[in-house]
């Protein structure tokens, strides 16, 4: 089933074309790895897909709902981790997740259940009453993931979810993404190529706001008989 259909997205800031003619289609069970050098337009594209930025032209449909015409309903289907995992640092982990859950429209009983699941699955139980400001970078990132997942969204958009995590935490995060990907569509932007090889079913490489490659990850690796690292360097040069 198709979850997200973005067609011919364009976005410019002044004279700079941040995104030029990008189209993305996301289906259930698919994990798209969004790759590109710094300034390629990854974050801008994600901001458009989540409704934070409006595209100059092009269309985005979230489960057949036009994002520009009905942003409230379209946004409620998406879970989003912005770059840097921002959160309200003066709140405790639990109260922050509670706030996001309420804003997502969850009723008290369901919210309590989801909170319990999030705290357990994302290993936040021991810091649930701690002020976010006092947490390590790894924990803060996990709080960001938890708020994106609190309403059990069909679509998950994660901007550099493993940035700043130690190798163990990265491993855990990838395991988590894989485990929830069966009945969701996920888009991940990352710099880490091994991450794409490990969790992503499809790879999209962009540079200067344009899609350079959009293929099944296994096909890229099979055909080229080389690793993603060398392919990435070759086409984004």
């Amino acid at each position: 089933m198709n979850l997200l259909e973005a067609k011919n997205l364009y976005k410019s800031f002044g004279n700079i074309n941040a995104v030029s003619d990008i189209s993305i289609s996301l289906n259930v069970g698919e994990v798209i790895g969004f790759l590109g050098p710094n300034g390629a337009g990854k974050s801008t594209t994600m901001k458009m897909l989540t409704g934070f930025l409006e595209a100059d032209s092009g269309s985005i449909e979230i489960k057949k709902t036009d994002l520009s015409k009905d942003p409230i309903n379209a946004k409620s289907i998406i879970g989003y981790l912005p770059e840097g995992a921002p959160s309200y640092s003066d709140m405790t982990v639990k109260s922050f997740l509670y706030f996001v859950g309420k804003m997502r429209g969850l009723k008290d009983e369901l919210l309590e259940k989801r909170l319990e699941i999030m705290l357990k699955d994302i290993n936040l139980s021991e810091v649930q009453n701690q002020i976010i400001e006092t947490l390590s970078k790894g924990y803060k990132r996990r709080v960001g993931i938890a708020q994106a997942l609190i309403h059990d969204p069909d679509i998950l958009i994660l901007d550099e979810p493993t940035d700043g995590l130690d190798p163990n935490q990265k491993f855990e995060m990838r395991k988590l993404i894989k485990s929830i990907s069966k009945n969701k569509g996920i888009i991940i932007s990352t710099h880490i190529l091994e991450e794409v090889e490990a969790v992503c079913s499809r790879t999209i490489i962009i540079s200067s706001g344009k899609v350079l490659l959009n293929k099944e990850t296994k096909d890229i690796l099979k055909k080229k008989k080389e690793n993603l690292d060398s392919i990435f360097r070759k086409i984004t040069k």
Binding site: P71, K75, P82, G84, P86, Y88, M91, F99, M103, G105
Partner: protein, 248 residues
């Protein structure tokens, strides 16, 4: 409509309790009470005047609010932009108007709390004499409405920068202009070169002239509409600015 209010209240609660999560609330309340009491009793010569009214209390409010309202409101949007939480907030299924109204109302009701905490002065004046409590009530209401104008203006300006200090300075200057617009000296300097209608427009925008009328117990429709429409104009501009500046 119910859902609209529900989301607005979630934002309101987060913002309102936010004041108490840091020492900001206690510092603000302490400073407000100390300054308003100090100005009333020492500079306003509350006892020496020998009159059972609260004129010497309310007369300082425009000047107190000039500094204290930008101090409360400077963080409303500047902090969201600086920390990046604006991206999180605006990708939630919520309307910009709910965010702006929720934040503004939280700061306005926090101010109401500060104003309510000055009620012992009202009790004191009733103990000492027989004041016109109707006038005092109207003055309290007017004071809160004026605080709302300062806050809505500050909220609007805090959307223009990521730096809270800049938001504070720009808001204080803007509020100062709004207060000073009614001052004789300013009006005289404008009158010397501008047509009469322009001077009248400037005077009609002054918080000071409107608040003075309230202080004498006159809360007429014009004054009431002035404060409410000022708040509504600032909130509308704020909603527009949120859309315009969110990603800058």
């Amino acid at each position: 409509m119910k859902l609209y209010i529900e989301k607005l209240m979630i934002i309101f609660n987060r913002e309102f309790t936010g004041y108490f999560r840091t020492p900001l609330a206690s510092i603000f309340l302490l400073v407000f009470l100390a300054l308003s009491a100090g100005m009333t009793f020492f500079m306003g010569q509350f006892f020496q005047r020998g009159q059972a009214d609260l004129n010497s209390f309310f007369v300082w409010h425009p000047w107190l609010f000039l500094i204290l309202m930008p101090a409360i409101g400077m963080r409303l949007w500047a902090e969201e932009r600086k920390s990046g939480t604006i991206e999180l907030l605006m990708t939630l299924p919520v309307r910009n108007s709910q965010l702006v109204l929720g934040k503004f109302l939280a700061s306005w009701f926090f101010t109401l709390l500060a104003i309510i905490m000055t009620i012992p002065i009202w009790i004191t004046v009733n103990y000492l004499g027989e004041p016109d409590n109707g006038v005092i009530f109207i003055s309290y209401l007017g004071s809160w409405l004026m605080a709302g104008c300062f806050l809505s203006l500050t909220s609007c300006l805090s959307m223009l920068t990521k730096n809270q200090v800049i938001a504070f300075i720009v808001s204080t200057i803007s509020c100062f202009i709004m207060v000073m617009a009614g001052f004789g000296l300013v009006l005289a300097s404008v009158r010397s070169w501008a047509p009469l209608w322009f001077t009248e427009v400037i005077q009609s925008f002054s918080f000071l002239s409107h608040f003075k009328r309230i202080q004498y117990g006159v809360l007429d429709l014009t004054t009431f509409i002035f404060f409410i429409s000022m708040i509504m104009i600032c909130i509308s501009i704020n909603i527009f600015l949120v859309q315009l500046k969110k990603a800058d």
